[in-house]
């Protein structure tokens, strides 16, 4: 049965990709599996508390409140599944490696393609199901705990929640596949493989940023879903699935009897019920339109997939790259620093930008940092606004720390054992300098925003403070890393407890520092003393 064998082979490929090194694959997979259960569990309980705390819960209020939850669940499912599809970007299609391995066997091409599509569908469906299983069981239960309904009604409510969120997840996966295959069809194999990693990095950053913005931007009651004129194009795909939920689950809830309520509450409930009933025809229309677009996306992605796979490309053809003169001159530009330090700076820059795992760490950190920054940034000189820059820098350095604690390729690390003849310390120094350069670049990008808000003097002082605090963060990040990018340091067993506590403490410390900074920016001596103090701490940590 070559089909079964091939499907199993392709499914294994999705798990055994380069994001989990051989040395710690089981640990990585175990952490991922645990996260797939615990994070949705935590989020669901957190989001459901409002139902349990609401006295005299009634259908109208529930229907409108539920909309905000469903928008969040659908957006999260869609974006997380899209992230997974982007992480599997190279394994989504039949690769030249597949052609080299499978091409020699007497298996028809259509069998290979069919097996790959089956494996893709199985993987996407299994992941979407695993991601949404806990919320689908728990959210309807907690949401309806105080409503006058039978336990049997939970089954259709859970089924609707599962179908809608899984559908959103599958759409996220299919959309990434459609983009990849459309690009392949447009550019051809040679050009596609040349731009593929850059396109993936950009998409990954965009999706991660949207995911990080979900709690910030979508945690309200999704009023825009009830108002035809307030819809935003970017939110349209989420709207299709949330509308489908409102049309199906909302109808079930709408039929429930209302409890006896005081007059003001009853009036409010009547208003919310009318609001839902008026919007119901539009929800139905949006849901059908969404279903049509989803089906179209699925059909298009499969059609493009089959078209692109009509020839499995064994060789990537194309003229050799010459490389930019700047890249060639890079070691000479760094000629003033020790050769091993220069090697450290360049190796770190290349690993962070080109190694898939390291790039993902940086993109996740950057997306989280930008989401925090956009949530906090405001016009006036407030503690929150001042903390925004430090939080973004902290997120970038956290990504840098995760990256330098991961081997760039554990099999290729032998060269450091053979060639680093006493230069390991200087190489580490180079990696450290790369981290500080990253901090300076981040603060430099933020400087114009601060200048627009507060003028040159305050913006410059704030930027200097950001660089100095970032320098301290880099020193702290490198404290226990003696061989950055060469050997992997597995996360400690207490990462879920100590890590969370430390993270919380760090956020509190950042806000306290921002409060002090606000006070210090008021005087010239404060402007000088604040960065000097942090420089002294950074210097002491380095020592």
């Amino acid at each position: 049965m070559p089909d079964d064998v091939l499907v199993r082979h392709f499914l294994t490929q999705f798990v055994d990709h380069d994001f989990s090194a051989d040395s710690d694959r089981h640990q990585t997979l175990a952490i991922a599996a645990a996260a797939l259960i615990t994070i949705p569990l935590f989020v669901t309980v957190f989001m459901s508390v409002k139902y349990l705390m609401h006295p005299l819960q009634a259908s109208g209020w529930t229907e409108t409140t539920l909309m905000g939850d469903e928008v969040t669940f659908c957006a999260a499912s869609m974006l997380v599944t899209a992230v997974v599809a982007l992480l599997e970007w190279d394994a989504l299609a039949l690769t030249p490696e597949d052609a080299a391995i499978l091409g020699v066997f007497p298996v028809p091409r259509r069998t290979i393609v069919r097996a790959k599509i089956t494996a893709l569908a199985t993987f996407a469906a299994a992941f979407a199901a695993a991601l949404n299983a806990v919320p689908s069981l728990l959210h309807p239960l907690l949401m309806s705990a105080q409503l006058p309904m039978s336990v049997m009604m939970l089954v259709p409510l859970a089924a609707v929640h599962a179908s809608v969120t899984m559908g959103a997840g599958l759409f996220g996966f299919a959309a990434v596949l459609a983009i990849r295959e459309a690009l392949f069809a447009l550019l051809g194999a040679a050009r596609f493989y040349r731009v593929s990693s850059r396109v993936r990095a950009m998409l990954l950053f965009a999706v991660l940023l949207l995911l990080a913005l979900v709690p910030v931007r979508l945690s309200d009651s999704a009023a825009w879903m009830f108002d035809a004129e307030k819809g935003q194009p970017l939110l349209a795909p989420v709207g299709w699935f949330a509308a489908a939920h409102a049309a199906l689950a909302g109808r079930m809830l709408d039929g429930l009897p209302r409890p006896d309520m005081p007059a003001p509450l009853a009036a409010d409930e009547a208003r919310l019920t009318v609001r839902y009933r008026e919007a119901l025809p539009r929800f139905t229309f949006v849901a059908f339109r969404g279903a049509a677009i989803v089906i179209l996306t699925l059909v298009a992605s499969i059609a493009l997939y089959v078209r692109n796979a009509r020839r499995i490309h064994l060789l990537i053809e194309g003229p050799p790259r010459r490389g930019s003169p700047a890249v060639r001159r890079a070691p000479a530009i760094l000629g003033r620093v020790a050769p091993a330090t220069g090697a450290g700076i360049l190796f770190a820059a290349r690993a962070l930008l080109r190694s898939s795992v390291h790039l993902v760490y940086m993109l996740v950190a950057l997306a989280a940092g930008i989401a925090l920054f956009t949530a906090l940034i405001g016009g006036s000189l407030r503690t929150l606004t001042l903390a925004a820059q430090t939080l973004l820098v902290a997120a970038v350095v956290a990504g840098f720390r995760a990256a330098v604690r991961t081997s760039a390729d554990y099999r290729a690390g032998w060269i450091f054992d053979v060639a680093a003849s006493g230069s390991a310390g200087r190489f580490r120094e180079g990696v450290r300098l790369a981290g500080i350069t990253l901090v300076v670049a981040t603060v430099g990008i933020l400087y114009p925003i601060a200048r627009l808000q507060w003028g040159s003097r305050l913006a410059l002082a704030h930027a200097i403070n950001g660089v100095v605090i970032g320098w301290l963060f880099v020193e702290l990040a490198m404290v226990d890393v003696s061989r950055p990018l060469v050997v992997s340091i597995p996360p400690s067993d207490g990462v879920n407890t100590v890590g969370v506590a430390l993270g919380g403490a760090a956020v509190i410390a950042i806000f306290i520092a921002a409060h002090i900074e606000r006070f210090m920016l008021g005087s010239t001596i404060g402007v000088v003393l604040y960065p000097l103090g942090f420089s002294a701490i950074a210097f002491a940590v380095r020592r």
Binding site: P320, P331, P339, G342, I415, D417, V418, S421, S423
Partner: protein, 258 residues
């Protein structure tokens, strides 16, 4: 001639199993020593112990009379090593990898850049120097490894299957290069499965079998082990291999149908 490298009773055990039981030999400047042995005989493990990549269970490695067991820093500056497997950082180009090696070896940037450019050109890699290593053939990766091993002008050159993946022209180039390096005083340890290369290049051969040195001597003397005078047959005899008989058994199994 005094030996540059001396290996004394190296032993390596993995979970009680001896991969290398007792290996001793010497290597003098200007000498090319062939290091032969069947698969699993302990050749690569011995070489990894020499380079400090694997810690020996017991035994010593002496370089210029000093104990350098475990790969002392001063010793690492003096040897160049081409490993059996061409593991290179896939996100770097050939030139970037060589820049990294030059940096780690702390070669002056300008000199290293000129040397790298010239060597890439002479090894026929100039056009593909900026390409990602993932696009390299096995032979191209091997050339990058050879350049990386020679970049710092080492006194001791350790080559583990250096011809792997190379085309005929490149193999001939490598052989000439190894001879010239030996003439200029470099000590070369040449581990290979290609008997022809060892026969043409090496003045002395060490044959390993089951983790032990079964012979260490002049190529011509070893030939006398086989009645035909062929080094290939002598090697098979010394390594206790019966290729003809085993081949017959394999052919029987392959052509047997129930």
């Amino acid at each position: 001639m005094p030996s540059l490298l001396e290996v004394r009773h190296l032993v390596k055990r993995f979970h009680g199993h001896a991969a290398v039981s007792d290996v001793s030999f010497t290597l003098a400047p200007g000498e090319i020593v062939g290091y032969l042995g069947p698969n699993g005989s302990g050749k690569s493990i011995t070489i990894k112990m020499l380079t400090g990549l694997v810690e020996p269970t017991s035994g010593h490695v002496l370089y210029d009379g000093h104990d350098v067991t475990g790969g002392e820093l001063a010793f690492r500056r003096r040897f160049g090593y081409v490993p059996e497997e061409p593991h290179l950082y896939p996100f770097l180009s050939g030139r970037e990898y060589l820049d990294l090696v030059a940096g780690l070896r702390e070669l002056p940037v300008r000199d290293a850049a000129q040397k790298i450019d010239a060597l890439l050109d002479l090894f026929g890699l100039a056009d593909s120097a900026a390409q990602s290593i993932t696009a390299y053939s096995k032979g191209m990766k091997q050339k990058v490894l050879i350049i990386a091993a020679l970049l710092h002008d080492p006194d001791l050159v350790i080559l583990d299957e250096p011809e792997s993946g190379l085309d005929v022209g490149s193999i001939l180039l490598l052989r000439h290069l190894v001879r010239l390096l030996a003439q200029r005083g470099k000590a070369v340890l040449y581990s290979s499965h290609v008997i022809e290369s060892v026969e043409r290049l090496c003045s002395r051969v060490i044959v390993l079998s089951a983790g032990r040195v079964v012979v260490d001597g002049d190529v011509n003397r070893i030939r006398t082990v086989a009645p035909s005078g062929s080094l290939e047959e002598a090697f098979a005899t010394l390594a206790a291999q019966r290729p003809d008989a085993v081949a017959e058994q394999i052919a029987d199994i392959v052509t047997h149908h129930a």
